[in-house]
Point group: C2
Chain length 171, copies 2
DNA sequence: AATGAAATCGACCAGCA
DNA sequence: TGCTGGTCGATTTCATT
């Protein structure tokens, strides 16, 4: 698995406000953010640089509308595997590597993996599921079609509860 | 549901290459992208501006490591609802509005909604599930705990098959 | 749709609390 | 370490093709 920053990254109130702003929209000028916080542009820039270096900001990316690329079919596929030593991580990565697979979760319970996929056509969906089944160790799959999605991008700061916010601020 | 750009957005090869680059990393200089494509910096900027105006680029955002905020617990919750007129869309939005909910899918099949949540503590997870159950029209829920995730951010261009790429380029 | 020049904004640095 | 103000380089904008 990928390296992650420690759970107890010491962020203060100002960091959190900056993160909230730029996680929603990085296309704001430094000056706007600085004015809102009563800081100079340099100070905001300094903090953003640190947040990047500490891995708290993993990167800055453009969010693309999948529909613009004709990616209109979303499915959720439950995957069961035969349990062998160390296979699970490998299988997760192999599912993830298939074109059209967007997210893979390895879960506790009778279903082992849950995969979210996004494709243009039924043929692509068929191919994708066949590729999952072809992976060594995969037992059976069960897919459901998604009719509608609800989410405002990936928004970790927006989804914090108040107690969660407090937990970050005073360790 | 939110307005989306048409499936047949007329993109050319150059647009697709720009999207691929900036979806992965917007922190590249215009000059780098321009050089790779044999264009001027202004031309690349002109295209990016258009892609934003046409809604193909939905926005530019910072990706934050959830672990840095202590968000270490991920769950997938299946939600069944009693079927009444027009309730489904409303319920989806109400689930989505709960703190800690990251994504909600409305699906065909016996399970109606699939919700992905990310919280810091078991208490927060408990609260979250209670809030789902409290929604009018929700019948029953079933949750599984996620042990590991596989995904490289949201990467719609990277997940295109070759035939998918071709389908976009020649309509 | 793409270009080059001009205005604006972000990145970096030295210095300071 | 966190911040300021200034400088330089990059990006954005605009007139022009």
């Amino acid at each position: 698995m990928r390296q992650r920053s420690p759970a107890s990254a010491d962020l203060d109130d100002v960091d959190l406000k900056i993160l909230q702003q730029i996680e929603d929209d990085f296309d704001v000028s430094l000056e706007t953010v600085a004015d809102q916080l009563g800081l100079s542009k340099s100070a905001v820039h300094y903090r953003i640089t640190n947040l990047k270096e500490n891995g708290i900001i993993e990167g800055v990316t453009a969010d693309i509308d999948p529909f613009a690329l004709g990616l209109e079919m979303v499915s959720i596929t439950d995957v069961s595997v035969t349990h062998r030593e160390g296979y699970s991580e490998n299988i997760g990565e192999r599912i993830m590597a298939i074109d059209g697979i967007e997210q893979v979760y390895y879960t506790m319970g009778d279903v082992d993996f849950v995969a979210v996929s996004r494709v243009q056509t039924r043929d692509q969906l068929n191919d994708l599921i066949e590729e999952i089944v072809a992976i060594d160790g995969v037992d059976e799959t069960s897919s459901k079609f998604v009719l509608e999605e609800f989410h405002d991008a990936r928004n970790v700061t927006a989804n914090l509860t108040q107690s969660g916010r407090d937990a970050i601020l005073d360790p």
